[in-house]
Subunit: 338 residues, 2 copies
């Protein structure tokens, strides 16, 4: 099907570019609150499900064993910018399990943050696997293995116990069957499973509320959500959309970006989960759509209104649509539901 145009990019008097995509907003029972475009065809959620992939870290007791607090748990859910404190945090996580960067199999890339690129250039000259935006997730996987006496060497392979457990968690939360013909390799080497947006939205509603989850899994979800919303800088980094939105809204909003135009999120007080993908993979458009969805569904409190007027990072994040213009989302009333 033809997904609708969700975002227009403006230049002077004209629309310069256009982004199509699909959006699903659902509750924990899977009831659709909003569905735009194709929400039933499986898409790769990429890093947008890192918080779900981190559930075994808490559930298996690994996080407790290594004394992880909010920063470490947020890093396990993060696509971080490779800034100094991100690197230091992941190094600490690995050290707790008796490991170092050599155990990571995510590969190295230059940090997302320009300031971090400059720092690496001035110091070591080359980025390491610790700078990979997924290094916290990988450290989490390694910790699950080490804390539970599992050989960690092949922790990234689909058949490894850790990845099999991650797959089972994703199936539980999304209600989707993750058959082998929906499996691909993510940018950091671990499996990524194609899942319909409507299932992903439901999964994040369950993540937000605990509804439909076993008690231990619900507690783990609440703990990871609290970690991310308390330490949003560790989930992304300076100036990033995920960070600024969660800094502004605190526990009212959870958001997580994924490569190729994916965003997932949760609005706990409404019991809703959100999942969206832009057809073309554009992150700028995914941010604009997520900002519009938050503005539509979540009445701003006094604190958020004041912060927005003050023009801080959260305001920038909410106004991230400029120079993009949301189509079809902006022209509906905030509380209007399909």
């Amino acid at each position: 099907m033809n997904n609708p145009i969700l975002v227009e990019v403006l230049r002077g008097p004209l629309v310069e570019s256009r982004h199509r995509g699909a959006v699903a907003v659902a509750d924990a029972d899977g009831a659709a609150v909003l569905a735009m475009g194709d929400v039933t065809t499986p898409i790769f959620p990429r890093s947008a499900v890192k918080a779900l992939q981190a559930l075994p870290l808490v559930e298996t007791g690994a996080a407790d064993r290594y004394g992880f607090g909010n920063e470490e748990l947020a890093l396990a859910c993060a696509s971080h910018s490779g800034e100094a404190e991100h690197v230091a945090g992941v190094t600490r996580m690995l050290a707790k399990a008796g490991l170092d960067a050599a155990a990571l199999r995510c590969g190295a890339h230059w940090p997302m943050a320009q300031s971090a690129v400059a720092m690496v250039a001035r110091t070591t000259g080359e980025p390491s696997a610790l700078h990979n935006n997924c290094s916290g997730k990988h450290a989490g996987f390694l910790c699950v293995a080490c804390a539970n006496g599992i050989d960690h060497a092949d922790y990234w392979r689909p058949q490894h116990t850790v990845q099999r457990e991650v797959r089972a968690v994703l199936e539980d939360l999304t209600g989707a069957e993750l058959s082998e013909d929906r499996r691909a390799i993510d940018g950091c080497s671990v499996p990524t499973w194609a899942i319909p947006l409507q299932n992903l939205a439901r999964a994040f509603a369950k993540f937000a509320t605990g509804q439909g989850l076993a008690p231990e899994r619900a507690r783990a979800a609440a703990r990871l959500r609290a970690a991310c919303t308390h330490k949003p800088w560790h989930v992304a980094g300076t100036g990033r959309f995920c960070t600024e939105i969660m800094q502004l809204f605190g526990a009212r909003v959870f958001v997580k970006t994924g490569a190729e135009g994916v965003y997932c999120g949760a609005l706990p007080e409404l019991g809703l989960g959100i999942a969206l993908k832009c057809d073309d993979g554009a992150g700028r458009a995914a941010q604009a759509v997520m900002a519009a969805l938050i503005a539509r569904f979540l009445p701003l409190g006094d604190a958020e209104r004041a912060a927005r007027r003050g023009g801080g990072g959260g305001a920038r994040a909410l106004d991230r649509t400029a120079p993009c213009r949301n189509r079809r989302l902006a022209d509906r009333e905030p509380d209007q539901r399909v």
Copy 2:
């Protein structure tokens, strides 16, 4: 209208993302050789028309007055990566006109090239206007003003003599009327004019052949084209698509990227111009489409085949489609025309 899907991005067993767009290929008379999608609605060509914007630099005698060779002329047509030799070349251009970086009004941004970012970080710590990918174009504008005794202070404003001359050149080559309601501000502060793809394709056919141009303009076009195809590194930079394609094909192909998913090009031996834009502004898709168009229209010579087999930069550029897959272009015979 709904532009067709031109490029699919693959991950494992599935199509992960899709790029729509429009393509025009035309001869110097404006006859369409290929038209896919909407080629009649004006789009902003952005940096893809820098070689046309540089015509006054040659035509007014400024390039001769300052003794510019292929490197300087290629830089005037460039979206360069801000590598050391780009910066040095633009500095030389400005010095010939008695100016320095302070005269540039393009603004500063970090270099496109990661290696250049690292070098700036290690040395000055901050990029200058010389690192702006458009600094060569701006130096060219300044040289036109200085060589012709025109106050250069406001060289970037639409009403400045230089920009009025650029507008006249664009109208001459494209045959499009550049009314004020089609004007916006480009990323580097100068005007950008919205022009239909079919007109842009015709303009580059004229640029490639000189047909339909006054003799002096035709000579200027040939000189700029020769400069770019002789010094393709100066048009873009290390590992860039424009550079690698022109390194591989030499004078047989001229290509130039523009922001927001635009590519223009010329195939002189066929008398054809090319203009394309991806709806979503994706540069990766624009490259994939241009690579497919070149492969479709231009029979590879022995040298290009050997280079491609050798796996050098040109081969990488032609194979830039991976992990993208061209749709609708790849399934036609190379010499099939609509």
